[in-house]
Subunit: 356 residues, 2 copies
Amino acid sequence: MKKHNFYAGPSILPQEAIDDTIEAIKDFAGTGISLLSISHRSKEFEAIMNEAEALFKELLDIPEGYRVIFLGGGASTQFMMVPFNLMNKKAAYLNTGTWAKKALKEAKGFGEVVEVASSADTLYNYIPKGYTVPADADYFHITTNNTIYGTEIKYDMDCKVPLVADMSSDIFSRPVDVSKYVLIYGGAQKNFAPAGVTFVIVREDILGKVERFIPTMLNYKTHIDEGSMFNTPPVLPIYTGVQTLRWLKKLGGVKEMNRINNAKADLLYGEIERNKLFKPTVLNKEDRSIMNICWIMNDEYKDLEQVFLKYAQERGMVGLKGHRSVGGFRASTYNALPLESVQALVDVMKEFESKN
Amino acid sequence: MKKHNFYAGPSILPQEAIDDTIEAIKDFAGTGISLLSISHRSKEFEAIMNEAEALFKELLDIPEGYRVIFLGGGASTQFMMVPFNLMNKKAAYLNTGTWAKKALKEAKGFGEVVEVASSADTLYNYIPKGYTVPADADYFHITTNNTIYGTEIKYDMDCKVPLVADMSSDIFSRPVDVSKYVLIYGGAQKNFAPAGVTFVIVREDILGKVERFIPTMLNYKTHIDEGSMFNTPPVLPIYTGVQTLRWLKKLGGVKEMNRINNAKADLLYGEIERNKLFKPTVLNKEDRSIMNICWIMNDEYKDLEQVFLKYAQERGMVGLKGHRSVGGFRASTYNALPLESVQALVDVMKEFESKN
């Protein structure tokens, strides 16, 4: 039976990128050596590393003055690397969910942290607006997509202090005006690559302004100076990431991707709202994520939750269970998830409705 | 033409582990989902994570009271995580090469660092002996194998202060008495797994004794408490690592591995000493690495260095060029390198001698 992969991350990658990875594991770039056994200093892998930065710059139209680096340790490591490198005294954070809160908590080890707004009171089901960012903050940190709660900031905001964004789960899902940010980071394991690599897009002139001692591996400058090769990088995740970006480029880039992502989201939100059994958790349409779509049973059908999960699972739907803090269902509709998978899910929802 | 992979790292892995990884990328554990796209929270991957720790414990005969965790960021990240977690005031380091020196340098950000001895004066071609470790050091740090210079501490020393070892490039090459160490760490990309994962074996009772603020991701306790799943772990490198350890177990474990590694090293050092063109860089036999074997041309044949490299390369020998700081040649003979590859290299050396 065909599986439809709705996992929240690690999540579906383009089949082309997976097939290319298998070929490279058999024989990397005609070297006669496996991608798993190749030196990161071989010219063949150095070409991949250069292509990774080049494709980021091209696909996201990154302006001059920015660098892209690839690190281990996940976005959770960035929660502390950001304040380590950028916070002198004070930073502002927008609390839009679990990951935003973790980033905020970590920053407290480095100075004063201002939570400008929070939607924790209603289980993070909206994006706060109308808050004020302190003018003397060293930076303002946002989490553009909230994987667990299905909300998303789908635009690039104007901000008077340097703007930092965790885009782990929506990078490459839409065109981004990178010039509005000083730093964008993310774990790879949604729209970019398999788990094990983290990207950081950073405007170089923002660095070198803090007094504190920064351990070598936590200093962005280390990795910029060495082209992400200060130490052995996560070779395979970067390779597969490059294949994913090649696929994205061929498909038409982030603008076309955004069109497809919106079509997928419209299809699924439409069914959730139409279907008598279900309702969405995020009511403000402008706050709804196009990457993680969350919904629950309507009150009168509460007892069917597990029944529907099992029903969908038996029809090849994988990873639909909502996060334990929200319950219900979550369909992650990342770049590589085809419209056909969303259609298959919608068909299952309709079918289940007709039987109940 | 068959390639013989002598890369210093990332380096050769068992073909079985590579083949198993390809199968898992096609369909992981019968889930119908690729290993590259599977959730780390799936029960199938959680089983792999548990097996990783269990195989470490079994193969290295790790006593009670120790935990094994798997992290991103490479051994270079451990250079600062070790002092972050273990140094109160003072630490002692043995300077046996580039990586030892980097670890030592990083520790200076956290307190007083005593270099108990160094072999830098002779391009690190021996392991210093007869030094004194200060009794009030919080720990003593050694690098058991020096990849660039081809020296190795092939025994577990008695030490009156807590002993910490970077075993990046010789873990699993011999039986280790783990009880003599409080912490052993290493990048995976030699005897364990492809690049992208780092292992830490730590005696739990050594933790929690420093006063300083430790960022969440840098605190060993975080990862112990969450079974290396505090954040998304590097899924594929861990999977391939487990396949490598299964292969090692089937082969007879670290004792048998050590027998084979010694046979490979004896064969190659024997030829280097016999062959009129070459000489070893490490003269003390007890200091010679069985993982990275370094040699240079005898003085009267200096001009043949590039000629030999090309000659060997044309016969399928990959990665033989010595590190730029040493010159000459380096054959890395990690666990997965078969005796046949060493024999093929020796044959090429003999052949080249007969022609010159």
